[in-house]
Structures are given as structure tokens and as C-alpha cells.
């Protein structure tokens, strides 16, 4: 016969002993607890028993959790705790012996439904051009490098070449002194030595305030560059709104069939002429606006509706302000444009280009030292300049930019490496970082 004992009897027995915990108590088989008159218990015993029982219930709850039962909710509702215990409740929090297993899950974005338009630059002999290869940008279904959708094309770099010697930061100039008077050689050099995917020829000498080179003469330079390299090219004017349409028309004519990118159509010049030149001679148009999403929509709309430029011939340049010189606007403008495109604004679903070279206008990129004596030492500018161009471009690549116009060979190399790493095409030795804290660096 099993001898039974009431809790109150146990309490009486232990009444005079200073009991703080019960050891060796095991509960086997079906658990049946019948506790009544808890108030009459010796407080020390009640506490010790309560502790044991609570521990048991926690273990049982853990088992329940492993079986997939939401035990926390049960506890919460049972004890009237709507929310997790506050930090103030800390001393009474349970001492946990095992990690509380949890699975990480996150969903993909569901409103990026509209792919970015693909645009191909350059034409091979099969398409009526003479380029050895072409470059295709756009096609994204997600923000760059995001896991939501495969990114179809990597980022590309087109390096700047000018039709006359220009003022350049020392760190940049050092790379071009031997070719500065010969745009064709300059173009060869950036492709051969600096791994440029494309070349941009800027016809700045055509500016009436510079040399006022006639459009016809400038077009000759374009022919030379096309002869010198077999990558796709971008043709830029001088930025003079009166002269550029004429210059770009002539350039478009001599580059017929090469599917170049004409830079740029903008709202402050006769964009219709530029669009027409692009259509007449089989080129793409760079739609350039200044840090203003609505102006970008307006210009794209005009190019499509008014000038009949097909969608696969438009690339946008929403303006690059350099790191520390307005990049905050440039970054957000591009990010907003890309998000709007992905979410279905078909006036903004075009790939983007950035004049990343603008970073060299930042004094931090080229100045020997800070003009302010309160500033800390800026260190050698040879290293400062390239990283300025890299970080400017890198930020915009994360905002959705597809193609970069750049100048410094180191910047080009590092920007390509980081963007292709994020794109997923760079293999490299795996690094074990688990003990980085103790690493000797």
C-alpha cells in the first residue's frame, strides 16, 4: 500500500527546519498534483516547492516547444503578461540552460514587378557596326545585388577621353600625360592598360568659349576613336546647349550603325535634334537631368512620345554630385528612380549612368592638404583621390546605377572589383573570420 501524505503534513514535519530547497525529489510517471491550502504552507517550503515545480514546468514547456507548441503564448496568457518581461523584471527571469532554437525567415519583396529596360550599347558586324563586342545594361528585377531576383548584367565602366588637354587632378593626369594630345591613343590606353569596358569621347573643344572647334572637325575625332578601339563608345559634347545639338548630330552621322550613346539630351537644349540624330543613325540617347525625379520623367516622356525614341534606346543620367558635395541628393534621387521603375513607373524603367568622374571636383580628392588649419591632417592626396571616386561610384551602384564614367585607373579597378563581388562573379579564397578578434593586423 502506498503511503500518502498531505502537503500540509509535510509542511508540519518540516516546520521547524530551515528548509531552502528540496533535493532528490523526483516525480515519476503521471503527474498528479493536488495542492490545496497553499496559504497554510511554511513559506520557505512553499518557495522551494514552487521553484521545483516551476522548473519542471519550464522543462515540460521546452519539450512542448520542441514539438512545435507555442508555449510562450500559453505562459503569457496564463500569467496575464501581454508583452515580454521588461528589463526591470530581470532578477526573476528564468535562468536558461539551453539555447531557444529559432529559425530565420524573411520574405522577398512582392511589389518589384517591373523589370528595368535592357539597353545594348555598341553594334557588332552582325548588327551593322564594327565593335568586337557589345555591352548590355539594365534588366534588373530588384535593387542591385539583392537576393530577391538574379541581376542579369554586371556594372560597366566607360573611361573618359577628351579631345584636348584639360585641367586634371595630378593623380589623374600622371596616367595620361603621354596620350593627352591624341584622343585615339588615349582611348587605346584606357582599354588596353586600364581595362575600360567602354570609352567616352568628350568633344569639349567644340565649346565656343574654349576652342569653338567646328562640329565637322570634332566628328573626325570620333572616327579616330572608333578606329582605335573595338569597344562600344559614348560621345559627349561640351555641355554648351547651343552648340551640342550640332556637334552630336555630326558625330552621330560619322558613327552611323555603331549604336553609340549620345550624351546628352537634356531639357535645356534642343533634345529633339539629338533624339532625331540618334534615330537617324542608329544610336542610343543619354537622358540627362539634374537631381530631379520629375524632370527625369518629363524628359523621358518627351523622348518617347514626342521624339519616338524606342524604350530600348534610352539611358538616364540623373546627375552625380560627388561624395561630400551633394552625393546625398544624387544617391536618393537614383534610389527613388530605381524603386519607382521596379514598382511600375514606366517613365523611369531605364538603366542609369553616372558621371563618377565628378568626384575629382571635390577638393578632398585633389588638394595637397586641407585649407583649414583646424582639420586633422588629410594625408597624401595620391591615395585620397582614387578612393573618393570609388566611394562616390560605389554608393550609386547600390542605389541602382548601371554604368560609370570614370577617370582614374585604380578607381576603375577597385570599383569593378567591389561591384562584381557584390554581383557574385568574383571567386576568392575563403577567409575564416571566426577568430578575427585575436588576428594580428
Amino acid at each position: 500500500m502506498t503511503k500518502k501524505m498531505k502537503l500540509s503534513q509535510l509542511s508540519d514535519m518540516l516546520q521547524d527546519l530551515d528548509v531552502e530547497s528540496l533535493e532528490g525529489v523526483t516525480i515519476e510517471g503521471d503527474i498528479e498534483l493536488n495542492i490545496s491550502g497553499g496559504g497554510g504552507l511554511n513559506p520557505a517550503l512553499a518557495y522551494a516547492l514552487g521553484n521545483e515545480i516551476s522548473q519542471i514546468s519550464l522543462h515540460m514547456a521546452n519539450i512542448g516547444r520542441m514539438l512545435g507548441f507555442p508555449a510562450e503564448q500559453l505562459f503569457a496568457s496564463a500569467f496575464g503578461m501581454a508583452e515580454a518581461p521588461q528589463a526591470g523584471a530581470l532578477p526573476t527571469s528564468p535562468k536558461i540552460q539551453e539555447l531557444l532554437a529559432s529559425k530565420f525567415e524573411v520574405s522577398k519583396v512582392d511589389n518589384w514587378k517591373n523589370p528595368i529596360q535592357e539597353v545594348t550599347l555598341g553594334a557588332t558586324s552582325g548588327d551593322g557596326g564594327t565593335r568586337k563586342s557589345t555591352v548590355t545594361i539594365g534588366g534588373e528585377n530588384a535593387l542591385p545585388y539583392y537576393f530577391d531576383a538574379e541581376m542579369p548584367h554586371r556594372n560597366y565602366v566607360t573611361m573618359d577621353v577628351f579631345d584636348m588637354p584639360i585641367g586634371m587632378a595630378k593623380a589623374v593626369k600622371g596616367n595620361y600625360e603621354d596620350v593627352i594630345n591624341d584622343p585615339a591613343e588615349w582611348a587605346k590606353k584606357v582599354v588596353r592598360d586600364f581595362n575600360a569596358d567602354m570609352v567616352t569621347i568628350h568633344l569639349i573643344s567644340t565649346d565656343p568659349l574654349i576652342s569653338d572647334t567646328p562640329a565637322k572637325e570634332a566628328a573626325k575625332v570620333v572616327e579616330d576613336v572608333l578606329q582605335a578601339v573595338d569597344v562600344p563608345i559614348v560621345i559627349g559634347g561640351s555641355g554648351n546647349p547651343e552648340k551640342d545639338p550640332e556637334v552630336l548630330e555630326k558625330a552621330a552621322e560619322v558613327a552611323e550603325g555603331e549604336r553609340v550613346l549620345l550624351a546628352s539630351a537634356s531639357l535645356n537644349l534642343d533634345y529633339e535634334r539629338i533624339a532625331k540624330a540618334a534615330m537617324d543613325y542608329g544610336h542610343n540617347v543619354l537622358s540627362w537631368t539634374q537631381l530631379e525625379i520629375n524632370a527625369q520623367k518629363e524628359l523621358n516622356r518627351k523622348l518617347m512620345k514626342q521624339c519616338n525614341v524606342p524604350r530600348d534606346r534610352i539611358v538616364m543620367d540623373p546627375t552625380t554630385a560627388a561624395l561630400g558635395y551633394g552625393l546625398d541628393y544624387a544617391y536618393t534621387n537614383m534610389e527613388r528612380i530605381r524603386l519607382a521603375g521596379l514598382m511600375g513607373d514606366d517613365e523611369l524603367t531605364f538603366p542609369m549612368s553616372s558621371g563618377t568622374t565628378n568626384a575629382w571636383g571635390a577638393r578632398e580628392a585633389w588638394m595637397v592638404s586641407s585649407p583649414l588649419n583646424q582639420d586633422s591632417d588629410w594625408g597624401p592626396r595620391e591615395y585620397r583621390g582614387p578612393i573618393w571616386e570609388i566611394v562616390t561610384g560605389l554608393a550609386l551602384s547600390l542605389a541602382g546605377n548601371d554604368m560609370f564614367m570614370m577617370m582614374h585607373p585604380t578607381s576603375v579597378q577597385v570599383l569593378k572589383e567591389i561591384t562584381q563581388t557584390l554581383y557574385g562573379s568574383i571567386e576568392s579564397e575563403e577567409i575564416d573570420i571566426t577568430n578575427w578578434v585575436g588576428a594580428e593586423v
Partner: protein, 469 residues
């Protein structure tokens, strides 16, 4: 934040339009609660006992999705996390990424003190202020608790900057904590192997802690959930920063996933995220390559959701772009950064002083102003209203024109002929092409200044006062 319209917040407010918060109406106050430019505690009436329930409800609704964690004490306290949106134009990002630069307990004491002071004092002028860096991370490379404690003590004595104690050995962390516990340091790190011991320290000393689960988001969440259950939500998550190749791509993906899950409402993982660009030094031997790559990784994770990071290179060519990219990402994109257009007197200009023209883009204005003032040049400086666009872009885009300059000067009632002895305007070098037009429009003599205002002093020496025509 669980609500996003002022109307939803308004429902909880007393609706008395008492004005104590500084706003004319409760609705206006509600709008500022939503854009987080006011705190709920700015509303005094709602703090009254009878509104307790509404206060608590609204407070919970306004709480940011990503928890806010504090490191350090006093003036230098650093807050991280507290964000609500994945894109800065939706609301703005709060609490700038905190940059901690490392020292180790194997360093010579003199070198350590020197490095800490250099980090503490590093500054770069920008838009009327100085950009600075934030923290010291003390790494235990010796494995010796006593050595670590000595290094931490030295750091504590040298600087007020917040501190991160870095070791995977609980005994080392405890030794460091003992000498820095009143500074609320961040512990680095609890892992799947040491979490119990580290949790004991975290609960005993009541300090924030980083959870480190390299490329294992299940484990990261498991640790976070366990720590929260044990009673602390002062957590920072480190999903591991792998510096190269496909591992780096995976790291990028992990950061995006963790932040997205947090913003989507998964409370178990809604904590600030830590990046460790310092790992770039494990992949590159040459210090310039390592610094470059570290800066690149730091830039990526400043833009994409790193709330705090540990860095090694203190070369200015690494620190300057880091400081600037952070400022770029954490500037409120909803407000144009401008100064009021008009005339500013720099120093004590007289009729013989030059009249310089710039734009009302705050960056341009403050750069020019500080270059002039620090070289003690007295002048009249005109901030022309270009809608907050810098000189070069404003010339190209037509926001800076001869007419704008003429109007800007005249609107202030300034007469170049009467108020100066030279009837001359100096335009920025980047606006050189406007020279003829400005001459025609103003009838004044127009000089072209240097392209960068840092060269104004040299330019002044050569060109001022102007030769009489």
C-alpha cells in the same frame, strides 16, 4: 513604428491644442511625432495620470521597429539602431553608424595612448561643423585577462569615447568589464559556444552585448531570442563580415535579410547590426590595399544597414571618405541643405573689400565662408539663391545666371557703385562663363575667382585690390 499617419497618432493625444509642445495644434504635433522631430514626452498633458493608458499605447505604436541600444555614458553616449524604414527618403535614417577604431592589448602603452588620442581628436570640417569618429574597440590579442584589463584601463583613462570590449573568452571580458563597468561598454561577443558565461556577465553588469554568429542567421536569431528571454534586449547582431568574394556577397545578403526581417516585424531579430570591415586586413597584406578594401566594405555597410562597425585603418584617406559617406546616408534627404540667400559679412568689410559671389547650397556657402574667415579676409559674401544647388551644376542648369546675381545683389539694397570703392564683383572660377553676362547685367567690373575657394587667399594676393580701368 506601427503607424504612419498623423491622424492615427492624433487620436491618442489630449486634443486640447494647448500649445505647450511649441506647436499650435495637436495635429501639428502629431505630424512631428510621425516624422520623429518631436518626442511624445514633449506633450506635457499626456504625461498626466489620467492619460496613462493612451500614453502607453501611443508610445508603443511610435516605438521604432529596430530597437535602440545605448553604449557609453554621459555626453558621449552613442545610440545605435532605432530605424523604421529600408530607404532613407521614406523617413530618414536615425542614429548614424558608429565607427569604432581598434587598439589591442598587445600594444605598447605609449602607442596605445597615442592612437586613442589620434582617433579621439580626428576631425574634418563640413557644412558648419566637424565630422568626427566615435569609439574605441579594445581587442584582446594576448589572451591574458590581466593584460586586457590593463589596456582597457588605459583607454578609459585616456578618453571619454564609448568602448567595445572584444574577446570570445568570458574571463577576459570580465576582467575588462571590472575596470570599465561604469562606462557602459559594449561586450563583443557572445557566440554559440560561450553564450551562457557571457550572458551571466551581461546580466550581472547590465551592459549591451554583440551576438556573433558568422553566416548563420538561424543561430543569430536563436542567440537573440535566448538573450531576450533571459531578460536583456540590449543586443547588437553581428552576422559576420567576410571581406572578399562570394563570402562578401553572402554577407551583403545577410545584412539585407536581417534588416528586412526586423522592419517587417520579426521582433526576435529587430536589433542594430554590426559590421567588422577590419576583416579586410585578414585578406590583404599591403596596408594601402587593406585600407582601401576596408573603406570599401565600410561604405557598403554604412549604406546598407550597418549600425556600428569596427575598423582598423586610421589613415586619413580611409577615414575621410568613411566620415563623408556616413554623413551622406544619414543626412535627412527630405530637407534641402541651404542657407538663406543674401549678403553675409565675413570679418569687417569696408567699401574697399571684395564682393564675392557664391550659391546658397549650404556646403558651398560654408566651405567658402570658412576658407575666407580662417584666412582673415574681410569681404561681402553673397549667397545667390540657386535652389540649393552648387556652383558648377547651377551654371549648367541655369540656376546661377547673370540675372540671378544682379537680382541677388540688388534685392538686399546694396549698390555696387555707391557701397564699394571698386564697383567689382568676383564670381567663382566654376562660373567663369558668366563673366560677360554679369558685366552686361550689372554694369560692374567682373573678375573670375579661383575654381576652389581654398585658393582665394593666394588669388587675393595677386588680384586684389583690382587695377583701376
Amino acid at each position: 513604428m506601427k503607424i504612419n499617419s498623423p491622424l492615427e497618432a492624433y487620436k491618442f493625444l489630449p486634443a486640447t491644442n494647448c500649445g505647450e509642445c511649441g506647436e499650435a495644434t495637436c495635429m501639428a504635433f502629431a505630424a512631428h511625432l510621425i516624422d520623429r522631430s518631436h518626442k511624445l514626452t514633449d506633450c506635457k498633458p499626456i504625461l498626466d495620470a489620467k492619460f496613462k493608458k493612451k500614453y502607453e499605447e501611443l508610445d508603443a505604436l511610435l516605438a521604432p521597429e529596430i530597437r535602440e541600444v545605448e553604449i557609453g555614458v554621459g555626453d558621449k553616449i552613442a545610440k545605435i539602431g532605432g530605424d523604421d524604414v529600408p530607404y532613407r527618403h521614406k523617413l530618414t535614417f536615425f542614429n548614424e553608424t558608429q565607427y569604432a577604431y581598434d587598439v589591442t592589448d598587445s600594444m605598447d602603452e605609449k602607442d596605445l595612448v597615442e592612437r586613442v588620442k589620434y582617433i579621439q581628436d580626428f576631425k574634418k570640417f563640413y557644412v558648419g561643423n566637424f565630422l568626427t569618429v566615435d569609439m574605441i574597440a579594445v581587442r584582446c590579442t594576448s589572451g591574458d585577462p590581466a593584460k586586457f584589463a590593463a589596456a582597457v584601463k588605459k583607454v578609459v583613462e585616456t578618453t571619454d569615447l564609448p568602448i567595445i570590449l572584444c574577446s570570445f573568452d568570458p574571463a577576459v571580458l570580465k576582467a575588462g568589464l571590472e575596470v570599465s563597468k561604469d562606462r557602459n561598454p559594449l561586450l563583443y561577443a557572445a557566440t554559440k559556444d560561450n553564450w551562457k558565461e557571457v550572458a551571466d556577465l551581461v546580466l550581472e553588469y547590465d551592459v549591451p552585448v554583440t551576438l556573433f554568429a558568422p553566416n548563420d542567421l538561424d543561430m543569430l536569431k536563436t542567440l537573440a531570442k535566448t538573450f531576450a528571454e533571459m531578460g536583456t534586449e540590449k543586443l547588437v547582431l553581428d552576422p559576420g563580415t567576410f571581406p572578399t568574394g562570394k563570402q562578401l556577397k553572402q554577407t551583403f545578403t545577410n545584412f539585407i535579410k536581417v534588416r528586412r526581417a526586423g522592419l517587417d516585424g520579426d521582433r526576435e531579430i529587430a536589433y542594430p547590426i554590426m559590421a567588422v570591415p577590419l576583416t579586410a586586413w585578414m585578406a590583404h597584406d599591403d596596408p594601402v590595399s587593406a585600407s582601401y578594401w576596408e573603406t570599401v566594405v565600410a561604405s557598403v555597410f554604412t549604406i546598407k544597414y550597418g549600425d556600428i562597425m569596427i575598423l582598423h585603418s586610421t589613415e586619413p584617406y580611409a577615414m575621410l571618405p568613411e566620415l563623408h559617406i556616413r554623413d551622406t546616408i544619414y543626412t535627412d534627404p527630405r530637407k534641402p541643405v541651404t542657407v538663406d540667400p543674401g549678403m553675409y559679412k565675413v570679418g569687417e568689410p569696408t567699401a574697399d573689400s571684395p564682393v564675392l559671389v557664391t550659391t546658397n547650397f549650404a556646403l558651398t556657402y560654408y566651405t567658402v565662408e570658412s576658407d575666407i574667415a580662417s584666412n582673415k579676409i574681410d569681404c561681402f559674401l553673397w549667397a545667390i539663391d540657386t535652389d540649393g544647388i552648387g556652383v558648377e551644376a547651377a551654371v549648367a542648369g541655369g540656376q546661377l545666371t547673370a540675372e540671378k546675381i544682379k537680382k541677388g545683389i540688388e534685392d538686399a539694397g546694396f549698390d555696387l557703385k555707391k557701397d564699394t570703392s571698386h564697383n567689382t564683383v568676383v564670381i567663382p572660377g566654376l562660373a567663369a562663363r558668366l563673366q560677360g553676362d554679369v558685366e552686361d547685367a550689372t554694369g560692374a567690373n567682373v573678375m573670375v575667382g579661383p575654381a576652389d575657394s581654398g585658393r582665394i587667399p593666394g588669388w587675393m594676393e595677386k588680384n586684389w585690390p583690382p587695377q583701376k580701368k
